[in-house]
């Protein structure tokens, strides 16, 4: 990649204040998640220890004290019902949320790129078969399938990895369709014909003339997939089919919140705000990347999205 092609991208991204704000939040979240053990050590708590003495058993377990029982020892209060430390659960929840969504995105993009390339550069039969498969996966009821799969996978399988794989395997269709379309249109360009005429082997032609042209749209698409995966993980955990207790997750905290929000609003607003900030930050960054990488790509993306490559939906 010539440096002259990457510099203007960074410059355009830097000029986009919303995207830079998104980037800052994303970096902060990543640091927080990575430093989760450090944060909890600093506070002197851990995410799984019960503190029965901090909740009021007469009211069914409402934390004692204002703001969810926030104190010098529990900076953001404790969980109603169990008295577990909220800050510790939030930062460990960030670990789950970010690792699952990043992992799922990697699986989606890797699978999608592979299948899309095979369809776009392969022969007609391969294209027909793979395109049909893409249509099928895109049409699949993603969330339903993800929930259902939880019923048949043995409980011993590590849940975060399972979530990553399930979201990844169900959500590669959009990327594949994008890559196939791009590969097909790039393949028909004359500079690819010129490379063939020079006698170059097909892999050399693909590597030099086609793959570099795919980088920008794939990165853009991946950046837009990410927030969807954050939402999907939170949704599955909210429904109780995501990560298993006692592992902490934002979605799980929110599902518990349904019964607590009148007695302890802090406990609802913290994970809700964090989830919202995460998704918004990733979305802003993705939008910024999209315009920075290719200011004219808007219409192309709209078209691919309008043909419903909405991912594991969020209803």
């Amino acid at each position: 990649m010539p440096s002259s092609a990457s510099n203007p991208v960074w410059r355009r991204l830097r000029a986009d204040r919303a995207a830079m704000a998104g980037l800052a939040v994303v970096v902060l979240l990543l640091l927080l998640a990575a430093a989760a053990p450090l944060v909890t050590a600093l506070e002197g708590q851990n995410p799984t220890a019960f503190h029965n003495e901090l909740i009021d058993s007469a009211t069914g377990g409402v934390p004692i004290g204002p703001f969810g029982g926030a104190s010098a020892r529990h900076w953001l209060g404790v969980e109603p019902g169990t008295g577990r430390d909220v800050l510790a659960r939030l930062v460990y929840g960030a670990q789950v949320s970010l690792s699952v969504s990043l992992g799922a995105t990697v699986v989606q993009v890797a699978l999608g790129t592979l299948v899309g390339l095979a369809a776009g550069l392969g022969n007609r039969l391969a294209d027909t078969v793979l395109s049909r498969t893409m249509d099928l996966t895109i049409a699949f009821p993603g969330l339903v399938f993800a929930i259902s799969l939880m019923a048949v996978v043995p409980g011993s399988f590590p849940r975060p990895v399972l979530l990553m794989l399930v979201l990844g395997v169900l959500g590669w269709g959009g990327t594949a369709r994008l890559v196939r379309g791009q590969a097909l249109s790039l393949r028909s360009l004359d500079h690819v014909a010129a490379a063939r005429l020079s006698g170059a082997r097909s892999w050399r032609t693909a590597r030099r003339e086609i793959l570099p042209g795919l980088a920008a749209p794939v990165i853009t698409y991946a950046a837009l997939l990410l927030p969807g995966n954050v939402t999907a993980e939170a949704g599955l955990s909210f429904l109780g089919v995501g990560v298993r207790p006692p592992t902490a997750s934002w979605g799980q905290m929110l599902s518990g919140a349904t019964t607590w929000y009148q007695a302890d609003p802090t406990y609802v607003l913290l994970p809700a705000g964090l989830l919202f900030a995460t998704v918004l930050a990733f979305t802003l960054l993705g939008e910024g990347l999209r315009t920075a990488l290719d200011p004219r790509a808007k219409s192309r993306l709209r078209r691919t999205r309008s043909r419903r490559s909405r991912q594991v939906a969020s209803t």
Binding site: M1, P2, S4, A5, L189, D190, H191, A193, A194, A195, R196, L197, S198, G199, A200, S202, R204, R208, E209, P212, G213
Partner: protein, 552 residues
């Protein structure tokens, strides 16, 4: 009140910091015609749009005065402008497909315009639509009015757009490159139609075009534009016959002449080098029915011809004639459905990519669109060096030297190795394409419309370069193009193609001066010539030819 229908004084149009039109003044009397000529970027289309106040919504800044049929376009309110647009001055655009709403039937679009301006009933408007469609030569207009734009051919669409312009009987017709997207025979029909309508309705015409030939036959006066300014303005016979301005002179001399004989070929044609026999190429089209058999369309329908060592063969034809398919088959970018491609006696028709690899260096190609034929992410030096790296496995220093020499040979600075395609002009890109094709010293060079995306002056330079290189390298040249005049400049022999077949094949001068096939005659008669007197005669000749073929 003056007698002029249109008065433009000191017109300027600015797009941000860029001044597209810079102090233009002209007048157009009722019933007269003016040609606005210039190369791309001269600002001619911007002027056309400004006349109807179409820049209002675009953020461009328009200065000066435009007085159109008593309305001051600059000062008029939006409502006043709407009364002008379409009713007293109508516009015809370059690309008739995108200029019409794909969701509405042709008749409905015309009727809508008529209703907006006359307030007539739906029924009367529909009748008017059929009437004008019939007038512009749409057969079975009453039925075809219900068709959508995509169901019409390019020429028919342009007729429909002209019908729309005609609907409210405007005093001025503004035609912005009305025939640029059309084949030459269709172009002639559309121009003849415009001419007829103008005479019949006493309409004034402002014709915007890059083609001096189109101006010659269709306008009384010409205004030549360059970089947003008028460089010459006068009666068409004077400007084209005795241009005063050096730019105009250069422009006119760059226009390839249909009747100019080529200097005798310097390379003596040798034995047969490449020969195709009964070549066919079919493409599958949409399957019919649920289990119906797949229908196939023959892009090339049995073509046989021999290419002699050192000769230059011109292949001409309109869109859909199969000329590009033939060119790509000759270098085996495509695999034929049937037939043989013999190169030095070897049949390459179904050779595998591996078998082709050593032959590739002998058969090279220059592509039509110089932008898409260069990888935007790689430098032009890499593009030229790639064939050498692949075939000769040469090292970097040799590649640099070789690229430098090639760049110099095609008239570019030798040290441009590190430039990117977007940093250079269209003509320069096409030179890079030529250098790349020549890198391996091929024996056969197929040029597919190598100059059709270039301005006329650049076109002439590139054609000259190709002719030189052919002599110098002893190339066997296949020059595929739609422009008959350009092809004549470089070709020893000519193959005229139509609907996938070669209808006439012969020595260039004979084909041009004594065409045998009726299609060749029709094609030659349709080419506009930048000489108003000649064009007048040719219009008559076309009418005779058309009525003759109608009798047949």
């Amino acid at each position: 009140m003056t007698s002029d229908l249109l008065e433009v004084a000191d017109l300027t149009v600015d797009f941000g910091a860029v001044r597209a039109v810079d102090g233009l003044s002209f007048t157009l009397a009722a019933g007269r015609s003016l040609g606005l000529v210039g190369e791309s970027g001269s600002g001619k289309s911007t002027v056309a749009a400004a006349l109807l106040g179409l820049h209002r919504t675009s953020g461009a800044e328009v200065g000066g005065t435009i007085l159109l049929d008593g309305t001051d376009v600059q000062q008029a309110s939006d409502a006043e402008l709407r009364l002008l647009r379409g009713a007293r001055a109508a516009m015809v655009f370059q690309d008739p497909l995108s200029a019409l709403d794909p969701y509405w039937s042709i008749g409905a679009q015309i009727a809508e315009v008529y209703r907006v301006h006359t307030g007539s009933s739906r029924r009367a408007a529909a009748e008017r639509a059929v009437q004008v469609l019939d007038r512009v030569g749409i057969p079975d207009a009453a039925r075809r009015a219900a068709a959508h734009p995509h169901e019409f051919s390019g020429g028919m669409r342009q007729r429909a757009l002209i019908a729309m312009a005609l609907a409210c009987s405007p005093k001025l017709l503004i035609a912005d490159e009305p025939t640029t997207a059309l084949d030459v025979t269709v172009q002639a029909q559309i121009l003849d139609l415009l001419h007829e309508l103008r005479v019949e309705h006493r309409m004034a015409l402002l014709l915007v075009t890059h083609d001096l030939g189109v101006v010659a036959g269709n306008t009384d006066r010409v205004l030549v534009m360059q970089g947003g300014r008028a460089v010459e303005h006068g009666p068409v016979a004077e400007v084209l016959g005795a241009p005063a301005d050096p730019y105009t002179r250069e422009l006119i001399s760059a226009v390839p002449r249909l009747d100019a004989r080529r200097a005798a070929s310097s390379v003596a044609a040798g034995e047969v080098l490449l020969s195709v026999q009964e070549l066919r190429k079919e493409y599958p089209v949409a399957t019919r029915g649920l289990f119906g058999r797949r229908e196939r369309l023959a892009a090339l329908d049995g073509v046989s011809l021999d290419l002699h060592r050192g000769e230059a063969l011109g292949v001409v034809g309109e869109s859909g004639s199969g000329k590009t398919t033939l060119g790509r088959l000759l270098v085996r970018l495509l695999e034929p459905t049937a037939g043989r491609i013999l190169f030095e006696g070897r049949d390459l028709a179904h050779a595998s990519e591996r078998e082709l690899r050593p032959v590739r260096r002998e058969l090279q190609m220059v592509f039509q669109d110089p932008l898409s034929s260069l990888n935007p992410r790689r430098t032009i030096g890499d593009a030229i060096a790639d064939p050498l790296r692949v075939q000769d496995r040469i090292g970097e220093p040799q590649a640099r030297t070789a690229v430098g020499e090639l760049l110099e040979r095609v008239g570019l600075p030798a040290d441009w190795y590190g430039r990117y395609p977007h940093e250079i002009s269209g003509g320069q890109r096409q030179r890079v394409g030529i250098a790349r094709a020549l890198a391996l010293r091929p024996r056969v060079l197929v040029c597919d419309e190598p100059v059709s995306s270039l301005d006329v002056s650049t076109q002439a330079q590139v054609v000259r370069l190709l002719a030189e290189l052919q002599r110098e390298f002893g190339l066997t040249l296949v020059f595929v193009a739609h422009d008959l005049a350009v092809v004549r400049q470089v070709s020893d022999r000519i193959a005229v193609m139509r609907a996938g077949r070669v209808v006439e094949l012969g020595v260039a001068d004979e084909v041009y001066e004594n065409p045998q096939h009726p299609y060749t005659r029709q094609l030659l008669a349709a080419v506009p010539v930048p000489d108003p007197v000649v064009e007048g005669d040719r219009r008559v000749a076309r009418a005779v030819l058309a009525s003759a073929s109608a009798v047949q």
